[in-house]
Each structure stands twice: as structure tokens, then as C-alpha cells.
Amino acid sequence: MKILVCISNVPDTTTKIKFTEGNRSIDTAGIQWVINPWDELSLTRALELKDDPANGIKSVTVAHVGPGSSEPTIRKALAIGADDGIRINSESADAYYVAAQLAEVIKKEHFDIVLCGIESSDFNGSMVGGMISEYLGIPSVSAVSGIKIENGQPILIREIDGGKEVVSVPAPFVAIVQKGIAKEPRIAAMRGIMMTRTKPVKVFEPVAAEPLTEITIFEKPAPRTACKFIDAENPAQLIELLQNEAKVI
């Protein structure tokens, strides 16, 4: 079986977000780019599955939609342990556009399991994975918090409102992955970093696809009101404020 992990790059979570061009785009100066946390966990789990020969995973590939400047993101994934990479040479216009690009590559390269993070920490859309599966007309399972291979058959755990389900779908399929899929993201070891240069990265040109959405302007969140402090010796006062002032209890 061949696994594809779709990765996007996002500003490091501690980055202070600033805007440029009249708040129409984000100021990329000084931003530390990292692999989207959910994608990083997907990659970790894919590599864990490959580690056990009994699972029969032949290769783990990463795919990313981005211009040449985003190549370090792919190299980082290769250093962590992915076998090869695919870059679709384009800026990402919106989720619909990105999913169209990834779907096209999957059609050409054939993968059995496609893993996508449930959202990216920049646009928080939760869309790309599901869109890819519909473009390809293959099954998708969302909110996946566990995946294993049993007798050659992938078994998934998906979160539902108020519980979990153990499900299976025939390959090829897209699993949209969330917290729980792997414990800690795997980090690149020196050997992995050394090998990165020898691993292939295929570059594809984008196919025509029309974005359906457009961000016109960004805003900073409204500042919160100052905190009202209550004496630790008299916490009952808090309960009174919550009841009479905030009216939430």
C-alpha cells in the first residue's frame, strides 16, 4: 500500500499575525513557517505504520501546493522520514483550488491511503480532505483519531458527537485526521536530515481550477475588556457577579 500525506505550511503558532496592503494579506516578513500541526501528526502516524513491515506499507509520500519558496516544508517532511515529495507549483488560492490540484496528482500517482489534517491553523477551513475525496469519487472518513492495519485492511477510529466509532472503508480512501492519531510529532534525526537531499521531489504545474472564495480583508480580534479581580478570600463574590452581572449561571 502507498500512503500520501497532504501537507500545508502555516505560521508557527506563536507568530504575531500582522497584515499588509491595507489589511488584504498577511505580512510574511519574519514569519517562521512550520508544517501544519495536524499534517505533522498524520505524517508521524504514516511513518509509524510503515515502520512495522507486517503493515505492508510500501512508501509514504508528501504532497504540498506552494511556490518554490515553500520547498523547505517538503524537505522538512522528508527529513522526518517521508520517502519522496510532490510539489504543485502554485500559490494556494482557496480550499477548492488546492483540493483540485491534489486530486489531480492523486489520479496520476495512485495512492491507497490519503491522509489530510482536519484543518490548517491559518484558515481553519476543514475542507481540503473532504473536497479531494469528492473530486476523486472515493470514500472519506472524517475526524479520524486512530488508524491501524489489520490483515491488510485499514481500520479507522472516528470521533462522533459523544463517542467513537471503529470503521472501515475500501481503499483508496481519504482519512481526515485529528488529535489522537499520533502522540507526539516525530522530529527529524540527523540521519534523516542528511538523507533529505537524495530523496526525490517531483514538481507538477497546476491544473486550471477556479477558486470559489476570496478573502477581501483581515481584522484583528476585538480587544477583551480588562479583567476584574476578585479577592481569593471571598470567591463567593465571583459567583454573585456571574449570576447578576454576566448572567451566565
Partner: protein, 322 residues
């Protein structure tokens, strides 16, 4: 033309989030001069279905098909897509919960309809169709224009108030044939959480961080949640340490919640944690460190030892409820 809303049920019953969705859809219907059609999939009795009318649904399409008792994302997208076309839907509303996130993107490609996901407000304008959306995990908000003819919106839970209209709806039973071979998802096992309020449904959430010092110290926190009729949550280090189950982890990579009241106990308030709770209406912080960043996000704060403060809060709430 209609505004279509997918009304999910849980063992035949709707919950608050369903009514939030219908209220939201009906406000949008007013903006676009249209009416609301609710779609229910699964066995829901007529009394329950009628409740949707009270929040502004004009028509309710009820589909009871045994093949759809399992959530198969592909099949659900086909069924909802077909109804959207029959009803000439211009806007489709789903929840931004697990089901909505699973189905909406597939529906988007099927209908070539742009998505505004996780919205918590009505559109800023109809022409162009502009949404207000949380981005960068709550560190920024964006105006997003959907350019396609059909628009899909997924509504964040607990973000829109219920609006009762007192009106009633027409119920239409519809049979959409779904071939069994189409259902690819096989459920082998189900584990349900019972007897407790779900974190994502809770109006009040009491959450503990590493400042709680030990998993043995959780009893007063759990008791406070219980007397307030709320749910318990925790920060990432706490779930990573295995002090609490990972389902309780709220934060950027955990659950994103928006209760009316979030009480953070012994949580310093790292950016990643705030990303999961910043949409709460009121945040209360209890922390020994007066400089902890959580106090910048909170409206009410107590600088003090949780182990001393929590039991007193429990007593005060019990007094109040007498």
C-alpha cells in the same frame, strides 16, 4: 429558491445546536428573501420534527432510509446534493461539528458551491455574499466573499442565539433511493459516552491545567462543573500527561469550544490554549500567578490557590441553588 439546513438528530432527537442552525438559516432566509427547508435524515417522529417549525423552518423534508443509518460522507453528500437541486437552494447551512465537517466539503465539490466554514455571525452582506470568519486560530478575522451561485455555510456551535418564531412547518416525507453498494463505510464497533454533558454542548465548562499539580486534585473541579451543570475540560499538557482523557483537551489542536462561561483553573493561557476557548462569552481565570496571560483573556479573575478557591466556589454555588 430556498435556504436549506441539514438538521442532524441523535437517536431521533434534536438538540440545541439543531435549533441554532434553523434559527440561523431563517435569519439568512430573511436576508435573501427566501424560506427555510430543513432536511432530516433518519427516524425522527413528527412531534420532534414539528419543533423545527418553531425556529422558522417552513418545510421539513424527512428521509428515513435504513442505508443512511451509518454516516457515509459520500452517500450523505449525494442525498443532500440532490435535495439542494430539487429545492433550488441558494444557501445551505450545516453545523461545523464532526458531521458537518465531513459532509460540507464533499457537497461543495458536488454543487460547485463555495464554503464559509465555522461562521458565528450572519453574512456581512448578500451582494457580494460576504462572511465574517475566524482565521489564524482566532488571532485574526477575515471577510470572505463566496463567489459561487450556491453558498455553503457551517455554523460554529453555541455561537448563535435561538429565535423562536411560533410558526409551523409542512412535513414532507421523501424517499431518495440509495443503493446499498453506495455505502462504503462499515461501522464495526461503537463506543458512546453516556450520562455526561458533552463538552461541545455545554453552556458552562470548568477546565484544569498543569497548575492543578496532580490528577488526584481534580475532585473539587469536577464538583464545581457538576453543581454548575457543566462539563469538564483540560489543557494540552494535562491530556498529554494522561491526567485527563484526550477528549477533554481544549485548544488549538484539541476541541474548539464557545460556552457561555469558561472557568480556567491553573491554566497559564498559552496562545494555543486560547485558540480553543477565545470565543467563549465569559472567561474566568483562577491562577496563582498574577502575570499569567490567561488574565488578559479573562473578564473575571482570582489570584489564588485552586485547592482553596474551588471548594469555596462549590459552596457558594450550592448556596445559590438552594
Amino acid at each position: 429558491m430556498s435556504v436549506l439546513v441539514y438538521t442532524e438528530n441523535w437517536e431521533g432527537k434534536f438538540k440545541k445546536l439543531t435549533f441554532e442552525l434553523v434559527s440561523y438559516a431563517s435569519e439568512i432566509a430573511k436576508m435573501v428573501n427566501s424560506s427555510v427547508t430543513a432536511v432530516s435524515i433518519g427516524k425522527v417522529d413528527e412531534t420532534e420534527l414539528r419543533k423545527l417549525g418553531n425556529y422558522g423552518a417552513a418545510k421539513i423534508i424527512s428521509i428515513e432510509n435504513n442505508h443512511l443509518s451509518t454516516l457515509d460522507n459520500q452517500a450523505y453528500a449525494i442525498v443532500l446534493g440532490e435535495i439542494a437541486q430539487k429545492e433550488t437552494a441558494s444557501v445551505i447551512v450545516l453545523s461545523n461539528n464532526n458531521t458537518g465537517k465531513a459532509v460540507a466539503p464533499r457537497l461543495s465539490v458536488r454543487l460547485k458551491a463555495g464554503i464559509g466554514s465555522g461562521v458565528s455571525k450572519l453574512p456581512l452582506s448578500i451582494i457580494p455574499f460576504t462572511l465574517y470568519k475566524r482565521t489564524y486560530s482566532g488571532n485574526a478575522f477575515a471577510h470572505v466573499v463566496i463567489k459561487s451561485e450556491i453558498k455553503i455555510l457551517t455554523l460554529a456551535q453555541n455561537s448563535f442565539s435561538l429565535i423562536e418564531t411560533g410558526s409551523s412547518a409542512t412535513i414532507v416525507k421523501m424517499d431518495i433511493p440509495v443503493d446499498s453498494y453506495l455505502i462504503k463505510t462499515k461501522v464495526n464497533d461503537v463506543h458512546k459516552q453516556t450520562g455526561r454533558i458533552l463538552l461541545t454542548d455545554a453552556d458552562v465548562v470548568v477546565s484544569g491545567g498543569r497548575g492543578m499539580k496532580s490528577p488526584d486534585n481534580w475532585a473539587p473541579l469536577v464538583e464545581l462543573a457538576s453543581v454548575l451543570g457543566g462539563a469538564t475540560a483540560c489543557s494540552r499538557p494535562v491530556s498529554d500527561e494522561g491526567w485527563r482523557p484526550h477528549e477533554e483537551h481544549t485548544g488549538q489542536t484539541g476541541k474548539i469550544i464557545a460556552p457561555n462561561l469558561y472557568i480556567a483553573v491553573g491554566i497559564s493561557g498559552a496562545t494555543q490554549h486560547l485558540a480553543g476557548i477565545s470565543s467563549s462569552r465569559y472567561i474566568v481565570a483562577i491562577n496563582t500567578d498574577k502575570d499569567a496571560p490567561i488574565f488578559e483573556a479573562a473578564q473575571y479573575g482570582i489570584v489564588g490557590d485552586a485547592m482553596k478557591v474551588l471548594p469555596k466556589l462549590v459552596t457558594a454555588v450550592k448556596e445559590l441553588k438552594k
